[in-house]
Symmetry: C2
Subunit: 300 residues, 2 copies
């Protein structure tokens, strides 16, 4: 399936349902996630990752590339191969460049749907790029967002982003970081910035946080008191957000729950309106395989 076709077929609703099924499969023990390989082209700054997995409904490989020197074309690209479980043949190749933003946003939307307070109406978004927009659009399908507090490093980008939200019928408002954090019911970071985005002390009781950014001040303290969730615990403690509390998770001081178990009711999610929940999406191939399979079903 060509990039043009997959881009034209994908919706946040398709991604939400497919990724949710993948997260449930990942937690169920019926699916397998194999070690991720981080490879590169001749120039070592050009990175491609190879992730593979299998579930009762699908098996295959996801290739993600990041070519930082690309100028007129996206720096990121994604290609998904599906293996026919009956024969072992690669039966479909789905170009998933545009799809990838939906899939990443869908994982956060699935988790937020399971973890955010039912009455959540205020979203704080850090970042003003393409992924940030898709995060807002995906989250708007799971909660009636009244206000989106936009934290922008560059005011011009922020105004552009608020206009883009308006084009989708969403109400954005440029807001300083601390004020946005304190007001948020759901807090999402979608930026490649490496500088600290906010102080974890600004996060108020009852907030659901999707991805904090690795250098966030006070993060360690928050992670010790918040309730922690992720797509795949074994991966999250190695390459994901929770590697910094891996020791505490290993010794049982801190609990880390697979979000798929919350989706099915096998594990508890939020326990009170005061809980702070943190979801880490490290990304697993099952999500990409599930979305690609769904797109083939839609096209059929």
């Amino acid at each position: 399936m060509s990039e043009e076709q997959s881009a034209s077929l994908i919706t946040h609703e398709i991604a939400y349902a497919a990724v949710r099924a993948a997260l449930i499969a990942a937690a169920s023990g019926q699916a397998h996630v194999f070690p991720a390989v981080i490879a590169h082209g001749s120039a070592p700054e050009n990175v491609f990752t190879v992730k593979s997995g299998s579930a009762p409904e699908f098996a295959g490989v996801r290739i993600g590339s990041y070519w930082p020197g690309n100028v007129d074309i996206p720096r990121h690209d994604t290609t998904v191969l599906l293996i026919d479980q009956r024969t072992g043949r690669v039966h479909a190749v789905v170009e998933s460049g545009a799809v990838n933003a939906y899939r990443t946003a869908a994982a956060d939307a699935d988790a937020a749907d399971a973890l955010a307070r039912p009455d959540a109406t205020t979203l704080a978004i850090f970042g003003t790029g393409h992924q940030a927009l898709h995060e807002c659009l995906a989250l708007s399908t799971i909660r009636p967002l009244e206000t989106i507090l936009v934290v922008a490093r560059t005011p011009g980008h922020g105004e552009h982003f608020v206009a883009a939200l308006a084009d989708h019928g969403l109400r954005g408002q440029l807001t300083p970081a601390e004020q946005a954090c304190r007001a948020a019911d759901i807090l999402v970071t979608a930026t490649t910035a490496t500088a600290p985005l906010f102080d974890a002390g600004w996060v108020t009781p009852g907030t659901h946080v999707a991805s904090m950014g690795s250098d966030t001040g006070g993060k360690q303290e928050l992670l010790r008191t918040a309730r922690l969730f992720c797509d795949l615990p074994s991966q999250s403690v190695v390459i994901g957000e929770f590697q910094h509390v891996a020791d505490l998770i290993a010794d049982g001081t801190v609990a880390l729950t697979a979000i798929g178990d919350v989706c099915t009711g096998a594990a508890a999610g939020r326990r009170s309106p005061e809980d702070v929940s943190v979801f880490d999406s490290s990304g697993i191939a099952l999500q990409d395989l599930a979305v690609a399979t769904a797109l083939l079903d839609v096209a059929a």
Copy 2:
């Protein structure tokens, strides 16, 4: 590129040249071979391997599948993805089911060309299957083989195989294992048998051996005295033929040389007509990427 197209374009000459370039690149330090992943479908007996690599001329991923329950279609299949080094995009998918036998045979032919005696005319082949036939055809392009001694477990298969060789203008002769070993200038095993195929003591001075089979009697002794070569030393001592002498290689008691360095003259190959040389082909993605790239060039 479809299976039909790649199968119609591949020749032993194309595979020989492409795989030779890949072996040289692997040894040069200009290429990268990333960790191989062994994955599986929902049913754990259905295995797929994911290997990736990059070299100045190409980068990409090879997916090999083994579905043992396949009845009317091959149990093995191979698919190669090429990544455009300028953009990171997957720019070609080459179905390489039939191609794979050529690529595997080409690695053995490249090594035999570099290591077998110039006057080698007698080949001993263990096995009577599809891969065994391709090994004979590939080796016949690098030495004027006068006789191919065919060691068959099942006489009927052996007769069929000798007839297939005749169809290609090659003279095969059913021969008992010991007699074939003692007479061989080049000895190749191409069988999935797990029982010992021959006693290493039957191998005479001057023989070049491509793959011995893991349970061959007297193997340890032969490996200590023979000269050892492989496609990728770091892989061969872990998953390849030489894992059983990995300790001796690590401490320098036994030398293991990358065949690419012999091809370029950077390392010595055979030093005398009496040397026994052993080549282990553990298989690296660079070979598949190089062959796929060559096929695209031919088709262009």
